[in-house]
Symmetry: D2
Subunit: 139 residues, 4 copies
């Protein structure tokens, strides 16, 4: 059940003109949509700084699947934290390298620990945690 | 075919002690692995700043699939850029909200445009582009 | 000469409630002020990504002034780029360590090069470039 | 009193070649200096995430000094937190706009609050907090 309200923003016309240019470049339909995105980005950032609420993140890792025991190690870490693991996508980048994206649910602090474990595994070439949101209060 | 070489780092003992604490916290097996990760993070960052080489990124978006026409719009954007789309993972967060991760291959600049289009779509609550690497020269 | 205009933002009441909480925490006087800040942050970020316009940044470096020749090296770098140097603030953190903030004006790309030179100097313990703006079109 | 030790890093020759290119571009004298900077950047980041130790930051703000009462407001905020204020640099960017850099010492959390107050003040166009370090254990 949505409950849409409206509020006014007063702004210098020159600043608004530049914002409209930014909106067009980013492909936003209208100012409200762009403003809501700016607001939500800040709220998600705050949510992750606090770190105690239930949230969701994606962990992207790049690794060479030929490295001895690497696949086993990564799998065992995922099993250790299975309660937080939602789903995994595996992509073969070339004959050696894989990209894996893991969707992880839990407290921000716990997700960070899981990301550290995976990214710190010997043989993982690059890894990043992307902080996002369950979206419950951001619709 | 790997060709492992070795180089020495001179460092103050106090700084090294703190680094060793950081390594333990992050779960790295040894200093070399941690140093290689620091190096690779910087190289990937540089790669994305330059923006002209072939690379890979993941785009994470959160949206409510009940929003009218949203799924269609997101699908049509993905089809427009199908040549860059590698794979997509869809997760049902709850009865309303979805998380979608798209793996996108191409020049950094093009991947950024695709991310802007998807994240800027009306109804997408939160979105982020994660810059990573094909890993070809980072093994 | 300011020319203030006004536009409306439609938003879900729950999202607005959370934004109002954020505004209070950050100490903003009203929503318009907070929204304008979000807009300006994005425009400054874009300005620095493009990198070709005249802008301003601050470079913060931490170093031990007892290190041999360090002060001379830092001074000579600043003189080499004197045309871009606006002003410098020097703070004695303790009997060994100094903090120096340099205000640098020029194209974003040039400011980045100067920051790299200073931060890369042997003996500089920590350094950061802060991207800001001349403010001409953001008032 | 420095106590320099040495440790070895094993690395693929291709990755090292790329790192050497990065080092040259950034103007580092040698690999050790570049590695130490990567290490210190991570430690400073950790220090600010924890947020409880004594540290130092710089707050950069851009504002139009013609705005009514703005200078007074900014000054009164600085006085309220005078115990943390180390020094301030003021630069006249043009006939309207000023850049001010404040060096602030204290716990990371307190410095963040001061930054929020200053940046959230009506009339401040752009503001950023730069997290750095007292350097005591990073030499």
């Amino acid at each position: 059940m949505e409950d849409i309200v409206r509020f006014g923003v007063s702004i210098d016309s020159r600043l608004l003109k530049q914002f409209d240019k930014y909106i067009t470049e980013k492909g936003y339909e209208n100012r409200s949509e762009a403003i809501r995105d700016l607001i939500r980005n800040n709220l998600v950032e705050k949510e992750w700084n606090v770190g105690t609420g239930e949230t969701v993140g994606t962990i992207t890792i790049i690794y060479n699947h030929h490295k001895r025991e690497l696949t086993e190690t990564l799998t065992s870490i995922q099993h250790k934290y299975h309660a937080s693991m939602v789903s995994t996508l595996h992509v073969h980048l070339d004959s050696h390298n894989c990209l894996e994206v893991l969707v992880v649910k839990g407290k921000a602090r716990e997700i960070k620990i899981i990301a550290d474990r995976l990214i710190g595994t010997k043989g993982v070439m690059h890894g990043k945690l992307t902080a996002t949101t369950l979206g419950k209060e951001l619709s």
